[in-house]
């Protein structure tokens, strides 16, 4: 069934189809319509779920942690400041190996107040042990939400499904909403290995001494590593059942390319247009979309960029004192490549500033004009 829905509603539909059982959330622009829709679904009896209307994002995640630990499929959504408030318990969820799925609408961080998109909120959760998927379209948002539940529950790690504020969250697109029965066939009920259980009463999350702590962390990393293959398989299965696959990364016109743009989120769509346009003008350019950021698909990135002469990463984020975050990851992945192309990094579009085709063209022009980066990264669009 095709419906014209916003990115936020796509998240809501994803949670509904995934049969989330406990939802705990707190409103924040631009996430609000996700939870409004879910509240309506619950109120109308269209979802068999308990919605806990908590007093903060911190409690939203804490409640999800409790629910997940007790064996329910737990879901929440947030954005920007809310995600930052949650940070402590974001770690806790992963450490407790709870496959909570959270929709995150990328929103810039204050001050000053800014409700528009950039990726610093989610990227600052990079090291928490959560899977992260960055989406380009509303359809991808819906599909990824459901996929994320299956991947998370397979490797026992929580997952964020990330979408750009307004550009997706409040933008309507036609979205194919799969049948519940088909989703059910794809996604069985949650069956945790360990949970709060009177028949197997255990203490979860107690003090761990230095003699044992490192192994706990080792196991999280192993689960992350396993998640690469699991995510690929889940996406493949999704493709077989629903006719759509998204890949952990997507190679776009990269086969004979000399220059590769590396993108994430909605910048990808704009970049596709520019790539097509420049291809028509004879420039050998392609695009690598990074959909799964955690675990970072190093091997896939290396393979995709093999033979590329110049890599241009577009970062809608900044790690102060260093560079854009995606560029860091790409450079790190390429370090183990046989041939390391120069990696240009372009930081742009912060705080929701538009990234338009002209912006992408400026980036390409700069890349074409330089043999190698002359600085760690390049600001695009700053009024100087």
């Amino acid at each position: 069934m095709k419906k014209v829905v916003t990115g936020n509603y796509a998240v809501s539909w994803g949670a509904r189809l995934a049969r989330a059982q406990v939802i705990a959330a707190y409103p924040i622009t631009p996430q609000t319509s996700i939870i409004e829709k879910l509240a309506t679904f619950c109120a109308d009896g269209e979802m068999e779920a308990r919605f806990i209307k908590v007093e903060s994002e911190h409690s939203a995640m804490a409640a999800c942690i409790g629910a997940s630990a007790a064996g329910a499929r737990a879901f929440t959504a947030t954005s920007g400041q809310g995600l930052l408030l949650m940070h402590e318990v974001v770690h806790w969820a992963a450490g407790a190996r709870l496959p909570i799925v959270m929709g995150v609408v990328n929103r810039a961080i204050g001050p000053g107040w800014n409700i528009w998109t950039d990726q610093n909120d989610t990227l600052s959760q990079r090291d928490t042990g959560w899977l992260q998927f960055y989406c380009e379209t509303n359809q991808e948002v819906l599909d990824t939400t459901i996929q994320a539940v299956k991947i998370a529950e397979t490797v026992f790690l929580p997952a964020m499904v990330v979408l750009d504020a307004f550009l997706l969250s409040h933008t309507s697109e036609p979205v194919d909403i799969p049948d519940q029965a088909e989703v059910d066939a794809f996604l069985p009920p949650y069956r945790p290995e360990l949970k709060l259980d009177l028949d197997d009463p255990r203490a979860f999350g107690a003090l761990v001494l230095p003699s044992d702590y490192m192994e706990m962390r080792y196991k999280i990393q192993k689960a992350m590593e396993r998640a690469v293959g699991v995510a690929e398989a889940v996406d493949h299965e999704w493709g077989e059942r629903f006719g759509r696959s998204w890949g952990l990364v997507e190679r776009y016109r990269l086969d004979d390319a000399e220059i590769a743009l590396v993108t994430s989120g909605t910048v990808t769509g704009t970049s596709r247009v520019v790539v097509d346009e420049l291809r028509d003008k004879g420039l050998k350019i392609g695009l690598l979309k990074v959909r799964m950021f955690r675990p970072f698909p190093h091997e896939k990135v290396r393979q995709a960029l093999a033979g590329i002469e110049k890599v241009a990463v577009i970062d809608r984020n900044i790690s102060f004192g260093d560079s854009g975050v995606f560029a860091q990851e790409v450079r790190a992945a390429l370090y183990r490549a046989d041939k390391r192309p120069p990696v240009f990094d372009f930081v742009t579009g912060l705080g929701g500033r538009d990234i338009v085709p002209a912006t992408i063209r400026e980036i390409v022009d700069y890349t074409v004009a330089h043999d190698a980066p002359v600085e760690e990264f390049t600001w695009i669009g700053v009024k100087k």
Binding site: S56, H58, I65, S68, W92, L196, R202, L207
Partner: protein
């Protein structure tokens, strides 16, 4: 057959032990005893949420547990929220008969956890929130909390500048949420405490139980005096035993014997009050008397009538 119990106390206390020996609580720990009573009252169909507090340690390091029921250890400020999540999950999974008990210290309740607590009880989540109150951050080494009494020594309120502020009235705060059940309890009165936990279990909705838990290292008291201190707290009216139903109906459960004892009897057994002057003690007595009179007035003036 056992001899019938005839003397001194006739305890109505279940025999089954739901806590294990071997926990690392300090000798004479009030909070450890409180948990023992609580679980005896609630029984094995209970899940316990423990935020950061002494009990994070007492419950045992990985891979051990000092309880026979499931425990979820969680972040300091999250007991109210995590309990809500567990409750929701149990309800949706058809396990409404399991009692969820949050078990937090005074820091996790009066201070860092009050937001999640207030919200959880405002939502009238069906759980029991227990604050075992040892009147300071004991697990971190005796730092002042908003539950620390006026003039008490802690490591952050040294003798030259003891705590200037009175203890926060958490019971009044909780009662102001008009939740079905709010009660105080303490370890010297196991019958009262167990009755209150059972009552709490029988009531649907949010329940708050404030348990005064003597702490020998933090109070600088003898380990063997923990029950005595608990008893003196009640008998001196420093910590009256009462309950508030629906935020309005106040009942005093234990009336001090023969009109009670002076606060000095309670204070003098505790090194944290050793620096108190006679004037300080008189001021504490006056405050305790005032609070008691106010409580008695509330108990006598309770107007709550059950809504049909």
């Amino acid at each position: 057959m056992r001899k019938p119990k005839t003397y001194a106390r006739n305890y109505e206390i279940p025999e089954e032990e739901l806590t294990y020996s071997g926990s690392v609580s300090c000798p004479g720990c009030g909070a450890t005893l409180a948990m023992r009573y609580a679980l005896k009252a609630l029984g094995p169909k209970t899940m316990v949420v423990i935020p950061a507090c002494c009990w994070s340690i007492i419950a045992g390091p990985f891979p051990y547990s000092s309880l026979t029921v499931p425990i979820f250890h969680t972040a300091f400020e999250t007991a109210g929220a995590v309990s809500s999540g567990i409750r929701a999950a149990l309800d949706i999974l058809g396990k409404e008969d399991i009692t969820v008990m949050a078990w937090a210290g005074d820091g996790g309740t009066f201070d860092i956890g009050i937001q999640a607590l207030s919200a959880a009880v405002e939502r009238n989540e069906d759980f029991i929130y227990v604050c075992y109150d040892n009147e300071a951050y004991m697990n971190t080494g005796i730092q002042r909390s908003s539950a620390t009494p006026w003039m008490a020594w802690t490591t952050t309120t040294p003798v030259k500048h003891p705590k200037d502020e009175p203890k926060k009235d958490i019971m009044a705060i909780m009662a102001a949420h008009y939740i079905p059940y709010t009660a105080t309890a303490t370890i010297a009165y196991p019958d009262d405490m167990i009755a209150k936990f059972r009552k709490a279990k029988s009531i649907h909705g949010a329940k708050f139980i404030h348990v005064l838990s003597p702490c020998p290292p933090g109070w600088k008291s003898e380990a063997s005096d923990s029950i005595k201190l608990s008893r003196l707290a009640v008998q001196s009216k420093v910590f009256p035993l009462y309950e508030i139903e629906h935020g309005e109906k106040v009942t005093i459960n234990v009336w001090p014997k023969d009109g009670g004892v002076p606060v000095s009897e309670y204070l003098r057994l505790q090194g944290r009050f050793r620096h108190l002057s006679d004037e300080n003690i008189a001021a504490i007595q006056a405050e305790v008397d005032r609070n008691w009179e106010r409580l008695v007035a509330k108990a006598k003036g309770s107007v709550y009538t059950e809504l049909v």
